[in-house]
Symmetry: C2
Subunit: 113 residues, 2 copies
DNA sequence: ACGCCGTGCATCACTATACGAGGTAGCATA
DNA sequence: TATGCTACCTCGTATAGTGATGCACGGCGT
C-alpha cells in the first residue's frame, strides 16, 4: 500500500481531518499521525497542508480549538468538532461517495444512464 | 448526482481519458462527451484541462493521434490507446483503487492494517 | 557541553492542475 | 445577419499539496 500521488489528495484533507476528529479531541500533530495510521501509511499529510487546513476549518466554525501546555514538550493546540463541523463532515462524506461512485462508473463503463 | 468540486478531480483526468479510450478511437470533443455521459453528468472536464491532458498523454506515448477532415464541420484529432497507454491505464486504475480504499479506511475508521 | 533527533506549531516558495474566458474556424438554422 | 453548435487551442487565475525553513522544548548519546 504505497504512498499516493499528491494530486489525488487534493480536496480530501478536510474530509480526513474531520473524520479522525470523530474520535474526540486531538492536537494537530496527533491528527496527522491518526491519518497516517488509519490509512495504513498511504496518507501522510505534510505540515504545509495540514496546518492551513486546520486554520481554515477553525475559521469556518467547523472546529473549536484551545491551547494547552504540554507537561513535556511544547504547547499543543487541541481541536474538537463543533456541531457545524459534524454537519460539514457529513457533507464531505456524501460528496466523496458521490465522487467515488462517479469515477467507478466512468472507469468501469457501466453507462451512467 | 450533482457536479463535483474541482479539487477532488485533480489527478483523475488521465484516468478518465484513458478509460473512455478503451472503447476505441475517439476525438477530443467526443472524449469529453463520453466522460460526461458515463459519469452521469458529474464530470464535465473543461477544455482547459482536457486538451492539455491529451497533449501530455500523447507526448508520453500513451496515446497516438491523427488529424482527419470532418465531412461536416472542422477537422478532428482522433486519439487511440497505445500499448504503453494501456499499461498506464492499468497503473492509474490500481492507484485509484488504492487511493479510494485508503480514504474509505481512514474515514470509516476500521484501523489501517 | 554539544549536537542531533523527535515533538509541535507555523509560514514560505514552488509546483501541478482544473477552470473559465478568449481566439480561430466551419457549418446549419433562424 | 447572427446565433449556436461543433472542434481545436492557449492563456491567466485560483486552489491546495510538498518540502524546506524557522522557532521552541526536551531527551539521549558521545
Amino acid at each position: 500500500m504505497g504512498r499516493i500521488g499528491s494530486q489525488l489528495l487534493k480536496g480530501t484533507t478536510p474530509l480526513l481531518v474531520l473524520s479522525v476528529l470523530r474520535d474526540g479531541e486531538l492536537y494537530g500533530y496527533e491528527i496527522a499521525q491518526r491519518i497516517r495510521e488509519r490509512s495504513g501509511g498511504s496518507f501522510a499529510p505534510s505540515e504545509g497542508s495540514l496546518y492551513p487546513a486546520l486554520h481554515a476549518l477553525e475559521a469556518e466554525g467547523a472546529l473549536s480549538a484551545t491551547w494547552r501546555e504540554g507537561d513535556k514538550g511544547p504547547r499543543r493546540r487541541y481541536y474538537r468538532l463543533t456541531n457545524s463541523g459534524g454537519a460539514l463532515l457529513a457533507e464531505h462524506e456524501a460528496q466523496w461517495s458521490s465522487f467515488a461512485l462517479s469515477v467507478a462508473r466512468t472507469v468501469g463503463g457501466e453507462a451512467g444512464r
